[in-house]
Amino acid sequence: MQRIGVFVCWCGTNIAGTVDVVAVAEALKKEPGVVFSANYQYMCSQAGQDLIKAAVKEHNLTGIVVCSCSPRMHEATFRKTAAAAGLNPYMVEIANIREQCSWVHKDVPTGTEKAIILGKAAVAKVNLNVPLTPGESPVTKRALVIGGGIAGIQTALDIADAGFEVDIVEKKPTIGGKMAQLDKTFPTLDCAACILTPKMVDVAQNEKIRIFSYSEVTEVKGFVGNFDVTIKKKARYVKEELCTGCGACTEKCPMKKVPNDFNLNMDTKRAIYIPFAQAVPKVATIDADYCNMLKNGKCGVCSKVCAAGAIDYTQKDEFISEKYGAIVVATGFNPISMDKFDEFAYNQSKDVITSLEFERLTNAAGPTAGKLLRPSDGKHPEKIVFVQCVGSRCDACNEKGKEYCSKICCMYTAKHAMLTRDKYPDTDVTVFYIDVRTPGKNFDEFYRRAVEEYGVHYIKGMVGKVIPDGEKLIVQASDLIAGKQLKIDADLVVLAAAIEPDKSARPLATMLTASMDTNDFFTEAHPKLRPVESPTAGVFLSGACQGPKDIPETVAQAGAAASKVIGLLAKDKLTGNPCVAQSNEMMCNGCSTCERVCPYGAITYEDKEFRMPDRSTLIRRVASVNPAVCQGCGCCTVACPSGAMDLKGFASEQIIAEVDAICK
C-alpha cells in the first residue's frame, strides 16, 4: 500500500478564489492510501516545496499528489522536489485544479466538488504508480532547416555560427524566398536585395551549411535528437556541381514562352532558367513542362552551348536520407489566391494586381525594369487605388477570406504609396483601409510620413467593387468618415491580398507530428513562453509559418529558433521519457499491429521460447519495445488487439482506476 501525501495549492486566488482548498485537502485525506494532506498558498514556491519535502520525511511518503495548475506548468518542478526528498520523481501526480477547474467554474461549491473528484482520480492513479527510471539517447549534432527564405537563411546562419552543421531544404531552385522578390523594405526603405543577397552568399560560402535547392522533405521518422529525414532532390536536369551559372543556356534556349513565376507570371522566361541574377545556388534548372528536349526529344540546344557539360536530360529525382538532431520549419507564406474575389475584377483586368505583383513592377530586376507601368498597355498609371485587407479580417462565415489580420499589409501599402508618390509625384494615390495598424518601431512615423509628407489620400472604408471600363477602372467604395459612397476612376488597382501559410506546410506538419491551427499556421508550444518551439520536441518554428510576420520579426524569431536548436545540439545526451510502452509477452499474439502503427520504429519482433504448463516448450513470436526509441505516444497500446501492450506511467489499469475514481 502506498503512503500518499496530498498537497493542495491555492495559487494565490487563482485556485482558492473558486475552490475551497481546505475542504479539498480534508476530503482527500479520507481516500485510500492518503496519510497526509495539506494546503498552502503557493505550493511551487520554495516554502511550498519545503513543505512537501518535510512531509515526505516525516510521514514516510511513497507517493505525492499535488492539486495545482496544469502539469505543463509545474510537473517538472514537483518531480524535482520529490527527487530531492529521496522519492522517485515518477511517484508524483498532478491534479489540475486550476486550468481544468477553478478557471472554468464560477462558484465555489461546483469548483470544490470538481477539485475533489480530480484529486481522487490522481490519488487512485498514484496508488498504482511504480518508480520509473528514464534512459538516455544520443543527439545527432546536425540541424535541418525546411525553407530557404529569410527565416530559414537567418536560422541556418545562426546555427552554423555556433559550430553546428545545418542543411537547408528549399523547394524552389534558389534560396531567398519572398524577400528576394521585394523591392524596398519598410520602414527604412533599404533595398531588399541589398540586405538579403549578402546573407544568401554567406549561406553559400559557409562550410557548415549545405543547401538542398529544388528539393522537398518527403519523410520524417524518429524523434528529438534522432530524426531520420528523406529529402527528394527533384531532377533539375542540370548537374549542380558542374554548372557555373554562366547563363549561356538561358540565352540560347529557343523555348521563350515559359511563364516566369519569379515575376509572378507577368513576363516569360526560358525553359532553362536561373530565377534571378543573385540566385543561390547559381545553377540553371530546366522546366520539364516546357522543355522540348524532355517533352519530345527534339532540341538539345542548352546541352550544345554548355561549356561545362552540365546538362543531363536523363537526371532522375534523387532521394537522400539524412540524420538530424533538430528540425526548424521555415516554410513561409503566400498571398492568397484572388480567384474568389471577383468584385475586385482581378481576373477580368490586367490592371488589377496584388501587392506582390506591384513589388515586381517597381523592382529594377522585374518585368518592367523598375518602371511603374500598367500591365495592360505599358502606360504610366496616373491614378492608383490601393485596397487593404483583401481577404484579411473577414467574418468567420465568409469562406473567401481569412479571419486573421495579415499584419504586414498596412505597412507595405504605406510603403508602396509613399514610393509611388516619391518617384512619380504626378501620380494620384488613394488607399482604402479598415484600420491602419502600425505597432512597430518607427512604423507609425512611417505611415504618417506617407500621409503628411507625400500626400497619399487615406480613406477609411472598403471597396465594394472594381469595374473595368475601357482603359479605366471604376472603383466603387464607401468613405465611412464622410459617410458617403464614392465612385472614382483608377488606372491601376493594387490589392493587399491576405497572406496564408505555404501549401507545403500541412503535409509537412503531418510528417513532423507538429500541430497546426485552423488556418494551417504551426502552433507554438506556448503562445507566450515558448513561441519558437513546436509542441513536438525537437521541432522549431521560424518566420511566417507560425503566423504573419514582417521581416524584422521574422529575423528575430529565426535567431530565437536557432538559439533553441543550439541549446539542444550542444547536449551530448538527452534524458529520455521513462513512460514507454512495454509488451506483456504472455498475452502478445505477435500479430505485428503495434509494429505497423509505431511512428518511431521502436517495436521489433522476436521468436521466444515459452515453457508451457505441461513442461513442453513453445516458440512464439512476441513484440519487444526498444525503450530508447519509444516516445511513449501510446499508439501501440490502443492498437493492440489482445491488450498486451501497455504504457508505463499511463497503464490501462491506472487510467481505469482514474475513471473509476471519477465515476464513483
Partner: protein
C-alpha cells in the same frame, strides 16, 4: 448441391497423406445428426475414407484451427478452404498467427452452404435424417418428407456471398471464381436508416437472447488472442452470464471492436450462434464504415495489407468530418 463430390476430396487427402506431403488433414465429419457436420482432424487413410464428409452442411471455416494445429504438428497440415475461408486464412497470415510453411492449402469450390434453421422453418422440428442430393431430402420423426432446394435455404452469408475467388491456396480443385457484387450491406443500411431509439431497441432485443456461450468468440478466426479479455479474471467480464443489460451488450460490442478492421466477414459468428443473433451485422457495420471513410478494404484479400484502422495516410478523413457527416 455442391458441384464437387466428396470422393474427389477424399482421393486428394489420401494421396497427399500417403505420399508424405502432409501429416494430417483438417476436414469435416458427421456429427450426431446428418446436418451436424463438425470439423475433424484425420491422420489415417481409413479414417478419411470412412468418415470424411463434404456436403451442403460443411460451413465450418478451418483457418482458425491452423493456429493451434501448426504449433503441434510435425509435418504439414492439409486444409480444405472454401473461397470465403481463404480470406480468414490470409488475415491470420497477416497477423503472423501460423507458419505458412506448415500448411498445404487446397482451395475447393463452394455452391453455398445451407442453414438448418431455414430447413427447420419448412419442415418443423423433429428432423430424423437429411440427404444432400439434387435437392435436400428431409425426413422427420413424424414420417413427413420434404424436398427442398438448397438455394432456398442458404446461410445468410452464402446468400450474400462476397467472393468465389480463392485468395490463397497451394492447389485449387475446380475452376477459379471471382469477386462478386454482393448485397451484403443492405441489411446494415436498413439498420442505419432506423432512428437511434429503434436501433437500440433492435439490438437490445437481439442481444438480450445471448447466453454467453462464447461460441461466436470461439469460432471467430479473428479472435485468436493468446489470452482473451473475456477469460481474464481481472477484466471483470470473465465468463460471466449476462446478468444485466450492460453486460449482454458489452460482450458483443467489445468483441466487434476487437475484430474491427480484421474481420473478413466470414459469417461464422452468426452461423454458430445457438440463439440466432445476427452478430455479423455488427461487424459488417464496421466494414461498411471503413469502406466509406477510407475506401474499399477487404481484410484478408492479401497477406500483409495494412488495415485502414491501423494505418495512417495524409488523405485520411478527419474525425470532425466523420462526426459532421454522420453524427446524429
Amino acid at each position: 448441391m455442391q458441384k464437387i463430390n466428396r470422393n474427389v476430396l477424399v482421393e486428394k487427402a489420401v494421396s497427399l497423406l500417403e505420399n508424405g506431403t502432409v501429416c494430417c488433414v483438417l476436414g469435416w465429419k458427421k456429427g450426431e445428426f446428418d446436418y451436424d457436420i463438425t470439423p475433424a482432424v484425420f491422420t489415417t487413410k481409413e479414417d478419411i475414407e470412412a468418415n470424411f464428409v463434404f456436403d451442403d452442411f460443411c460451413g465450418a471455416n478451418f483457418s482458425k484451427y491452423l493456429v493451434q494445429k501448426t504449433r503441434k504438428a510435425e509435418g504439414k497440415i492439409l486444409v480444405f478452404l472454401k473461397s470465403c475461408d481463404t480470406y480468414s486464412f490470409n488475415q491470420l497470415l497477416t497477423e503472423h498467427r501460423f507458419d505458412r510453411e506448415k500448411v498445404y492449402a487446397v482451395g475447393i469450390p463452394c455452391e453455398g452452404m445451407v442453414d438448418i434453421n431455414k430447413i427447420r422453418a419448412i419442415s418443423g422440428e423433429g428432423i430424423s435424417s437429411v440427404e444432400c442430393g439434387e435437392k435436400i431430402t428431409v425426413n422427420t420423426i413424424y414420417d413427413e418428407k420434404f424436398e427442398i432446394n438448397a438455394s432456398d435455404v442458404l446461410l445468410e452469408r452464402c446468400e450474400s456471398c462476397k467472393s468465389k475467388l480463392h485468395v490463397a491456396y497451394d492447389e485449387l480443385i475446380g475452376e477459379e471464381g471471382e469477386v462478386l457484387e454482393s448485397n451484403r450491406f443492405d441489411e446494415v443500411a436498413k439498420l442505419e436508416a432506423m432512428t437511434p431509439d429503434e436501433r437500440f431497441a433492435f439490438w437490445q432485443s437481439e442481444l438480450s437472447k445471448c447466453i454467453r456461450c462464447n461460441a461466436c468468440r470461439d469460432v471467430c478466426p479473428a479472435c485468436t488472442c493468446e489470452k482473451c479479455v473475456f477469460d481474464n479474471p481481472k477484466s471483470g467480464v470473465e465468463n460471466k452470464a449476462p446478468a444485466n443489460e450492460f453486460e449482454e451488450k458489452m460482450f458483443h460490442i467489445i468483441r466487434a471492436f476487437h475484430v474491427a478492421g480484421r474481420c473478413t466477414d466470414c459469417g461464422e459468428c452468426s452461423r454458430v450462434c445457438p440463439q440466432h443473433i445476427p452478430l455479423h451485422l455488427l461487424n459488417r457495420k464496421f466494414i461498411k464504415d471503413i469502406n466509406e471513410f477510407y475506401g474499399d478494404y477487404q481484410a484478408g484479400a492479401e497477406v500483409g495489407s495494412r488495415a485502414p484502422l491501423a494505418n495512417y495516410t495524409t488523405g485520411d478523413i478527419e474525425p470532425s468530418e466523420v462526426f459532421d457527416g454522420r453524427g446524429e
